[in-house]
Structures are given as C-alpha cells and as structure tokens.
C-alpha cells in the first residue's frame, strides 16, 4: 500500500514537477540576450536609488538596502508577472490541454513552474548582485549569511506560493487577471519597503505591510546584514514566514481545484483570448 502510494506520488507529482521545472530553466537559458539584459538592466534601476541616497547623504547601509531590495524585487516581479500568468500562457500556446488531460498533479505543474522560475531568477539576481556590489562598493556583514540565506529562501517559498495562488486566477480569468498583476506590482513594491526600511511607516501601515511575506523577509535579511533595527523581532518574523508557507500552499491548492472546476463548468478552461 505504502509502496503503491509512493510510486503514484513519483508518477503523478515528482516526475511532472521536475520536468516542468527543467524545461523552464533550459528554455529560458536558450535566449542569451534575455539572460544578459535581465541581469544587467536592473542595475540601472538600482543606480537611480543609490545616487539619490548618496545625494541626500543617507547612511552607507542604505546602499545595501537598495541592493538587497533590488534582488527581492526581481523575485517578486518573476512571481507576479511570470509565475502567476504561466497557466494563462500555457493555455494560449495550446499546452494546457495536454497538461490537463494527463494524470499529472496540477500542484506538481505549479511547483515545477515555481522552481524553474526561482532557478532562472536566482541566476539573474546573482549576476545583478555581483555587479551591484562591485560597482557600488556595498559593505555587509558576511557572518550573517548562514541565518539570512534560510530566511531569504523561506521568504521565496512564501512568495512563490502567492504566485501559485494567482496562477489559479489566471487560469479562470485570463487577461482580466493582468489587472491583478498590475495591482500587485507598484503598491506591493511600496508596502514591502523594497528600497527603504518599512519601519518608517505609521504603525497601522506596518501591520498591513507585515501581511506581505516580502516585507518580513526583507526586514529580517536587512537586520542581519546591515544591523537595521527592523519592524518586529527576528524570531516573530521567522515564525510568521514559516506559518505563511503551508497556509498559502493550502489556499493555492484549494483555489486551483476550485478554478479548474468552475472553468470546466463554464467552458473556459481551454477558451483562448479571454
């Protein structure tokens, strides 16, 4: 019984998830122009903030804030614009039908997309960070790496779980869901404090911002690397991030099942150009 379950799990979950992640990484790496532009162009955005802070005479740590924020922004953008809309693009390119008539777990497909997107973005972000650190001479405390890295990874797990949630909405609503991505871009960038410490927000706004995993993750990482006082206690932030992950995955799973069911009822599952 146990063996059969394990075999079924490998067949319907592990292999499809790995395959979806693998092709995403391989496919993306074949357009070298994209890899280079997506790694180098964000440096210009960072430069704008760095020069502004320097002009204002802000403390040197703020440059580090910007660099870490820029890295997190790349992941957030990947989640909001790529990960979330992936099922929509699968539908438009005719791949959704073969995927959905297969026995592969839908969550496995989403996980594969998330992991693939994460790997691709990590490669680009690493290049951005290296360039950013080298060009702007950012100093940080490397001893905190062993703590900061797991927290950052935990934040990304939460972020990609958010992406899985929104994938379901794209499955149902297609292009209408673009507005959602737009909504999740600028306001969330502001609330997450990607380019400045969120502790400067009024208390009520701090509470709202703390519901976003990116805010908590950034705050914790900056506290470790740049000794920033932060929003809340580090332990509390880690606990919140740990709790968010399964909750978000659970919601994503329920939402996906619900949207698939609704799409089949309304005949929108494979309907194009919505």
């Amino acid at each position: 019984m146990k063996r059969a379950l394990m075999s079924s799990f490998i067949t319907t979950f592990v292999r499809p998830a790995f395959a979806r992640g693998y092709i995403r990484v391989v496919g993306a790496s074949r357009i070298m122009v994209d890899v280079i532009s997506e790694s180098t162009l964000p440096v210009l955005n960072l430069a704008a903030y760095v020069f502004t802070y320097r002009f204002l005479g802000a403390p040197a740590e703020y440059i580090g804030f910007v660099i870490v924020g820029g890295a997190a922004l790349s992941f957030w953008m990947n989640v909001v614009w790529n990960m979330a809309s992936q099922l929509y693009w699968e539908k438009e390119s005719g791949n959704l039908e073969p995927i959905f008539i297969s026995p592969a777990s839908r969550m496995a497909i989403l996980l594969g997309m998330a992991v693939g997107g994460f790997v691709n973005t990590t490669i680009r972000v690493t290049l951005t960070l290296v360039i950013g650190v080298a060009v702007f001479g950012v100093g940080f405390d490397p001893s905190g790496m062993s703590v900061a890295l797991p927290i950052f990874l935990l934040t990304l797990v939460d972020l990609y779980s958010v992406g899985m949630m929104f994938s379901s909405l794209y499955l149902m609503y297609g292009r209408e869901a673009w507005h959602l991505s737009a909504l999740l871009s600028e306001p969330f960038m502001f609330l997450s404090g990607l380019y400045f410490p969120a502790r400067f927000f009024p208390f009520w706004l701090q509470l709202i911002a703390s519901a976003i995993p990116l805010t908590l993750g950034m705050d914790a990482v900056r506290r470790i690397f740049f000794n920033d006082p932060g929003l809340w206690e580090l332990g509390a932030e880690v606990v919140a991030l740990v709790v968010m992950a399964p909750v978000l995955v659970f919601i994503a799973r329920r939402l996906l099942a619900k949207m698939e069911d609704l799409s089949k009822r309304e005949g929108r599952l494979t309907l194009r150009w919505q």
């Binding site: 319907t12 499809p16 092709i23 039908e97 297969s102 026995p103 005949g267």
Partner: protein
C-alpha cells in the same frame, strides 16, 4: 477490458452566450468499441470538439453521462486521464525553444514514464512519424506538417488505450494529411485493443479511416454506423451530380424544389463551373431541378446518377453539404 471504450448517454452540453443559451450537444448517445476507429463527422459548430473535450475531462457535461474505458468523465476523471490522450489539428502544443525529443520527454513525464522507457518510446515514435532526422531540431524551426506529426507523436507518448483526434489533418497539405492518416491506421492495426475517436469535417478522411461514423449536425447525431450501413440508410433515395456553368452569387435554392431531400453546391470560379450534389426522393424530381437551374441562366454541362457516397449520404441525412 470495458465492453465499450467510449459510451455516452443522452449527453447534453449548453453554453451561455450573449445571444442566449447555445446547445452544443443535444442528447448525444454513441458507443465506441475497442479496436475501432470511430469518426464523428460534421460541419463546423456541429459539437464535435465539445464532445471530445467532455470525453477528455476538459469540460463537464450539462446533463447525461459519458464513460471512457468504463470510467465516468465527471467522477472518475483521474482514472480516464491515465488511459487517454488527445491531439487537435491546427494546434501545436509544445515549447518552441525545446527540441522535438525534449518536448516529447516533457510530455512523457506528465505520465510519470521512467526516463529509460521514455527514451526508448520517443525513439520509436519519432521514427514512426518520420522525424528521426529532426529529433534535435527546435520545435519553432519545424514546418506545420512536422509540428502536426510531433503533435501526433506526443499524443501517443503514453501509449493510450483511447486516442482522441480532433480534426487531426486540419490545415495540412495532401501529402502530410495522408501520412498522418497512415500513422493512425498503422497504430490501430498494430494495437487491436486500442481505440481512436476522431472528429473531422473531411469526408474522404472519414471514409478512408473510420470503421464506423456518427454524422452530427447542430449537436445531434443524425445517423451512426459503418459506411455500408449509412449507405443502406439512404438506399430508398437517389443521388445525382450535376455540373453546371458558374452559379456563384446566384440564389439557387435547389433544396426548396419538391422531391429534393438535400443539396450541396460547390463553386469553382476559375473553371467557371459549379457542382450540384443532390439527394432526391426519386428521379422524378430531376426535370424540375434542371428547369430551375436553367431558369437561373446556368447551362447543364454534365448530369450523372451516383452511388451513395459518404458525402451524398450526409446531404441526404442532414439536408445540406458539410461545407
């Protein structure tokens, strides 16, 4: 093995549109036996794709029942997905930046096929569809015909018990269409327990490939049977083909002549001719048809009584051509 590979009972599917409710399927009941190539023939909008989507678990029926390999499409969808696959003509699923082999590997993984087994099967499939020399080629560099062959190979990657083909040769040239039909026939001939349900609006395709055919029109099954059985259904009537000078742009309305059960008119402006295919109750209607065509200023070039073909059977049963 299930007694029927596919069975539907009074299947109904409606869609809400801006102009009200559209009945895409209207109490459709069909049975497809293992080892059959079963054709669903009908014009665009007849409900063929809706039927396939329901059977492939992509769409819920509004009412009625549908079973694939004995499993209910609503309550046992996961079991159905393990034993089916589908390919749609005009669709080219896959990832353009990946090679033919990589694409097939990806789709094989959706079925959890171990890598060594997948590799062997992919090798056999690319050879079968004649893409061996293109195995390493990126998909976005393939021609339309090659992409459709890849699509067919993809649909066979899990060695399905029931293969659904939705207009498999749509948009392909004559040679590529013939090749695709050959692969399908060959696959069923070498796997007698497998079943193919294909939809088409090409008469020749249905005639060449299918063991049995269901003629659908406006969501209803007008008739179902082997080609011989369908011909027998219209044996009481007579069929004529009349070649006349070009009728394009004229209101010919041959169908309204008493004794005419159905008509299909095709035009060739370049050749300056039109071809009128008629299903009649009896030969006595012919003089009225000729005089009607003459009154339109058209010259009769050729008049021929024909044996019932699938096309004339369709006209007889549906009242019009498939175009």
């Amino acid at each position: 093995m299930a007694a029927e590979s596919v069975r539907t009972e009074d299947l109904v599917r409606t869609f809400k549109t801006t102009r009200g409710e559209l009945k895409a399927l209207d109490e459709v009941s069909v049975n497809v036996k293992p080892g059959e190539i079963f054709g669903v023939l009908g014009p665009n909008g007849a409900g063929k794709t809706t039927l396939i989507k329901i059977l492939c678990t992509l769409l819920f029926p509004t009412s009625g029942k549908a079973f694939v390999q004995g499993y209910d499409v609503v309550t046992e969808a996961q079991k159905i997905r393990e034993v089916i696959n589908m390919a749609s003509g005009g669709e080219t699923p896959g990832y353009g930046l990946l090679s033919v082999e990589e694409n097939l590997w990806f789709f094989s993984q959706l079925y959890g096929i171990p890598n060594d087994e997948a590799e062997k099967r992919i090798g056999e499939l690319v050879e079968m569809v004649g893409l061996s020399d293109k195995a390493d080629e990126r998909m976005n560099r393939l021609s339309s015909g090659m992409k459709q062959k890849l699509n067919l190979a993809r649909a066979l990657v899990n060695d399905p018990m029931v293969l659904f083909l939705d207009e498999p040769t749509l948009g392909l040239d004559v040679l590529a269409s013939h090749q695709v039909r050959s692969y399908v026939r060959g696959w069923v001939d070498s796997n007698r327990d497998k079943t193919v349900l294909l939809t088409t609006h090409y008469m020749a395709e249905a005639e060449e490939l299918c063991d049995r055919i269901a003629i659908v029109n406006e969501g209803k099954v007008a008739a179902c049977g082997s080609l011989e059985e369908l011909r027998a259904m219209v044996s009481k009537g007579v069929h004529f083909i009349i070649e006349v000078s070009y009728l394009g742009g004229k209101k010919y309305e041959v169908e309204s002549i008493p004794g005419v059960k159905g008509a299909s008119v095709t035009h060739s402006q370049e050749a300056g001719k039109s071809l009128v295919k008629l299903a009649l109750d009896s030969e006595s209607a012919i003089p009225d048809v000729i005089s009607h065509l003459s009154s339109l200023g058209s010259k009769i070039i050729m008049l021929q009584k024909s044996e019932p073909t699938l096309e004339t059977v369709f006209i007889d049963l549906v009242g019009r051509g498939i175009e």
